[in-house]
């Protein structure tokens, strides 16, 4: 490609002529004024030396001085290199003009370095390239808009709220790419720098005053965009736009000096390792070499294998600068304000070149009242502060389980309209919470998407190998290793307001992210944003206290009630844990003090103590009660020659557990199945651990006697002779614990079935609803009812072939049949016991953890199966 031809093509490409015309309108009169002061047509004066804080003395030739003194370059004195970085690092306020001089200086160092190590046949070309690459370095930044990269950011798809502006900016990039046959990824500022060079008055200055040849100007312009005019000059563009180029070798060191963020780059050695290499076209990538004549000898910037490692150091160090300096959260906060300000007074990119950094802070500029407020924030450094760090590292549970949800959030954060909607939602949530708590709310919430790190794979430094061949290097591997994100690389929720409002914004943001994306975050999201977690917890507690329903949809976000971990409850909790310590149904569940506290933490603060009272009231049938007391009771209540028949049978059925416990008793009890027992002529004692409503036992009885169709599962149907034998036999039903309603029901049923049976128990519970007598019982009951219904709706209401209806779940919320019992057996919990004590499920969008999970039925995943009315402990 001929450079001048490409440059001329650019001047006619798409909207580029309009852009150039606009720039001419801004700079034309200024350049004319400058030249008239300088004496138009007089040409360049003498050389000059500048004393630079980083590199010491920097020489510019006469023509370069003429360009450096011109308005497009002098404007750069008022454009800070690091944009709003000086609001984070006070000394980092140096200008793009200083950097430009440094880049020219580094260009020369690089050229001299590669000349020394290149073959002598290349020296002439390298020497001749010097003035062109210096010109490129001098011009490379003159297209920077106010605030440097923040203005570029404004025109990005992620930021720009106005589609026409965004498309205009993209069109500039696309037109330049098309003219130069490049990928459309040249940065907007670089495109504008190239357009500046094409602007008639400036081009005239370069050509006729500074006396650069058209080919040199065009080559410099192409190099700024990262394009080589021809393969023999690949190295020229590489010196200006590459993983290691004059630009980076100045700004990285300059930024490091002024921020005192140290660099780990061995610059001297890196320069020592650079050379220009003439290679065969086939040494280049297939896509590149495809377009080159086979016998062509491209000249490229190269290094050796150890130099490649030094280049990797540059990638790594640059990444560190991005994390520590360029993407510092305070700088990002300032940029957030600047971006809003840019949105209030929209200009096209080329129009923005009429301004310098004063655009953002000049209070005399006519603006709307709200824009003035934003400008004052920047001028007086009243910047938004962080309230929430959004990173996949902080997801709960781990991001591996939330990939698709995370993509949803990530995409919304990258979309200006959807991001704005989220900001409004968080602001509204802040207002609602502030109203309930009667506290101030922030002035505004700003969402900042995660920052775009530099693109890997940009390196085009070739590696010359000992055998004389050339490789394109490791490419992705070292770049990616350097640039893989660190955990602190996050999007942010910022807010404008008092520091004390940080917790409010955190809580509001947390709720909106949960509501909109079903995403929850660990406390790292607050810690990373330097939000006081203790205060967040306090605010949530106050909110729940002020408005108990405020966590209706956000159960997972509730704070742990203060009382749960209060030392005043230590004794009670320790005693409860000790009492229930042998409860064992699911191997991984240990009934410890921590489990009791975690269970209580699910209750609102005012209900913690009442629930504790309820736990104390539980009838716990442990080994002692069943093995010793119940055995003694069975012996006492039974005829001496009686045989003992378990009411239920099969694995996980309660009566099949009892003989194990009863074996603790010294005297042996003759157990046998019903069928076996009927073969004898001895009185029968049918036993089980608990009898709650009597539903299950009557079903069993009905099945035995052929009165139930279909038969109750796993229960034998007796033949006519067996039924007759049963009816003629003395039978006693005996339970360890029984509720009087169950006793009455079973007694009635056996009469109807014409049995000669008695119903008794070691303990007969004559009480009414179990929660009666507990403090704040109505509120506790209402809460437990709500929990019970919800956990059943989210388990049984969604499972199986016949999911439970809402009404059925409601009917079992306080234990099946709403029996409202408080009885637990060492190896299981009866379903007549209050449901939230044994059923898992979801309550207010949070997992509900029961204190006594039920024994799992063989082959079932849940531990809370059964049907209402099947209120015996063994049912499960």
């Amino acid at each position: 490609m001929d450079a001048a031809e490409a440059f001329e093509r650019l001047k006619k490409q798409g909207i580029i002529p309009d852009v150039i015309a606009c720039l001419e309108g801004i700079f034309g009169p200024l350049i004319e004024e400058y030249l008239s002061d300088n004496g138009k047509g007089r040409g360049a004066g003498g050389s000059k030396a500048f004393k630079d804080a980083v590199w010491g003395m920097i020489d510019l030739t006469g023509p370069e001085v003429l360009i450096a003194d011109s308005p497009p370059l002098q404007r750069l004195r008022r454009v800070r290199q690091l944009g709003f970085g000086y609001l984070t690092y006070p000394s980092a306020g140096y200008s793009r003009f200083e950097h430009t001089l440094g880049a020219v200086h580094q260009t020369e160092r690089m050229v001299l370095a590669i000349r020394r190590r290149s073959k002598s046949n290349l020296h002439r070309d390298i020497d001749e390239s010097l003035s062109t690459v210096r010109l490129a370095a001098l011009l490379h930044d003159c297209g920077h808009m106010p605030g440097s990269h923040v203005s570029e950011r404004f025109f990005d798809e992620k930021e720009c709220p106005q589609a026409d502006l965004r498309m205009h900016a993209a069109q500039i990039q696309s037109d330049l790419a098309q003219a130069f046959k490049l990928p459309p990824e040249v940065r907007l500022a670089e495109c504008l720098s190239v357009c500046m060079a094409a602007m008639p008055s400036f081009y005239d200055l370069l050509r006729n005053e500074a006396r650069y040849e058209p080919e040199a100007i065009a080559t410099a312009a192409l190099a700024i965009a990262g394009k080589a005019a021809e393969p023999s000059h690949y190295f020229v563009s590489q010196l200006i736009s590459n993983a290691i180029d004059a630009d980076k070798l100045d700004y990285m060191f300059r930024d490091s000096l002024f921020t005192r963020v140290p660099l780990a780059i061995d610059l001297e050695r890196l320069l020592y390792k650079l050379k220009c290499e003439e290679v065969s076209a086939s040494d280049l990538a297939p896509t590149t070499s495809r377009g080159l004549p086979k016998d062509s000898r491209p000249r490229v910037l190269a290094t050796d294998t150890s130099g490649d490692l030094l280049a990797y150091d540059v990638s790594q160090t640059r990444e560190m600068l991005y994390s520590r300096v360029y993407f510092h959260h305070k700088t990002r906060a300032a940029e957030r304000v600047a971006l809003e300000l840019l949105g209030r007074r929209p200009h096209r990119p080329e129009e923005l070149l009429a301004f310098d950094d004063g655009f953002f802070v000049d209070e005399r500029t006519p603006r709307s009242r709200s824009a003035k407020k934003l400008a004052r924030r920047l001028a007086w450094r009243r910047l938004p502060r962080r309230a929430f760090a959004i990173s996949d590292y902080f997801l709960d549970p781990s991001p591996e389980q939330l990939r698709v949800e995370w993509v949803g959030l990530d995409e919304d954060l990258a979309d200006p309209a959807r991001r704005q909607a989220l900001e409004k939602a968080i602001e509204a949530e802040c207002a609602a919470i502030a109203k309930l708590l009667k506290c101030p709310r922030p002035e505004a919430v700003h969402l900042d998407p995660r920052a775009e790190h530099p693109t890997p794979g940009g390196s085009s430094l070739l590696v010359s190998l000992p055998d004389g061949s050339v490789s394109t290097g490791q490419g992705y591997a070292p770049d990616a290793a350097a640039e893989t994100q660190d955990p602190t690389d996050s999007a942010h929720v910022f807010f404008s307001g008092a520091d004390a409002e940080a917790e409010l914004v955190y809580v509001a943001a947390e709720r909106i992210l949960a509501r909109e994306f079903d995403l929850y975050f660990t406390r790292d999201a607050a810690d990373q944003a330097k939000v006081n977690w203790e205060k967040v917890i306090d605010l949530k507690r106050n909110l729940e206290e002020a408005h108990p329903q405020s966590f209706e949809d956000y159960g997972r976000l509730r704070a742990r009630p203060l009382l749960v971990d209060d030392a005043s409850l230590d004794g009670q909790i320790a005693s409860i844990a000790k009492r229930f310590q042998h409860y064992t149904t699911v191997p991984q569940v240990m009934l410890t003090e921590e489990r009791v506290r975690d269970f209580l933490a699910q209750f609102p603060e005012p209900l913690v103590e009442p629930m504790l009272e309820a736990l104390e009231k539980i009838e716990f049938l442990d080994r002692g009660r069943l093995g010793t007391d119940f055995a003694a009771s069975l012996m006492k209540q039974s005829p001496t020659n009686a045989v003992f028949v378990p009411l239920t049978s099969g694995y996980a059925k309660s009566a099949s557990h009892i003989p194990y416990f009863l074996s603790d008793h010294r005297g042996s009890l003759p157990f046998m199945s019903l069928e076996e027992a009927l073969k004898t002529d001895r009185p029968l004692v049918v036993f089980d651990d608990v009898l709650v409503s009597g539903t299950q036992s009557t079903k069993i009885l009905n099945t035995w006697l052929g009165e139930r169709k279909p038969p109750y599962r796993g229960v034998p149907v007796l033949g006519p002779d067996q039924r007759q034998a049963l009816r003629e036999r003395s039978v006693r039903f005996h339970f360890a614990w029984a509720w009087h309603q169950g006793v009455e029901r079973l007694a009635e049923r056996q009469q109807v079935l014409q049995l000669d049976a008695e119903v008794g128990a070691m303990v007969i519970d004559e009480s009414g609803p179990a929660l009666n007598g507990i403090s704040n019982s109505e509120a506790l009951r209402a809460f437990l009812r709500e929990v019970g219904k919800s956990v059943l709706m989210t388990t049984k209401g969604q499972r199986g072939r016949k999911p439970w209806s809402e009404e059925k779940c409601e009917r079992s919320a306080l234990g099946y049949n709403n029996d409202e019992r408080l009885v637990v057996i060492e190896y299981n919990t009866p379903t007549g016991t209050i449901t939230p004590l044994w059923s898992s499920g979801t309550f207010r969008n949070a997992d509900w953890t029961p204190l006594f999970p039920r024994r799992q039925r063989s082959g079932s995943a849940g531990g809370d199966a059964g049907q209402p009315g099947e209120a015996l402990a063994g049912e499960g």
């Binding site: 990928p183 990538a285 990939r403 993509v407 794979g457 490419g475 990616a480 290793a481 893989t484």
Partner: protein, 131 residues
């Protein structure tokens, strides 16, 4: 469509094709992408619906022939655990999600876009170096 979003859909389509990793050693992933670019050109020439939404970033770099946006996507998609590189040498980048998740990811695109992704992924998978 943003470049990152394009590559997310493309990688999901690769997973649907049965790919579980992207070989990056020696720039293999760029050479396999060459075939994708060729297929994309055919799709564009055929003016298939959705083709106009494919971002114009599939242009290789001069000299190295690398696709910067592709390299960038391989890094950024490591957020949210869609991909995982094996530091520090990165001979391959693993696709961490299964076909079911790939399907859910692709549901975020229009049917036309999904059809294009499938074609591109097929072109990629045909390359011997792809896995």
């Amino acid at each position: 469509m943003r470049s990152e979003k394009f590559f997310r859909g493309f990688v999901a389509a690769l997973r649907m094709q049965g790919e579980t990793e992207i070989v990056t050693k020696g720039d293999a992933h760029h050479r396999t992408l060459d075939a994708v670019v060729e297929r994309l050109e055919e799709i564009r020439r055929a003016k298939k619906p959705g083709a106009e939404e494919v971002p114009d970033v599939l242009v290789p770099r001069e000299i190295t022939g690398r696709y910067r946006a592709w390299d960038s996507a391989l890094v950024t998609l490591q957020r949210g655990r869609l991909l995982a590189g094996r530091n520090p040498t990165y001979p391959i980048v693993e696709i961490l999600f299964d076909k079911e998740e790939a399907k859910r990811l692709l549901e975020r695109y229009t049917p036309e876009q999904r059809a294009i992704f499938a074609e591109l992924a097929e072109a990629y998978s045909r390359q011997p170096v792809a896995s």
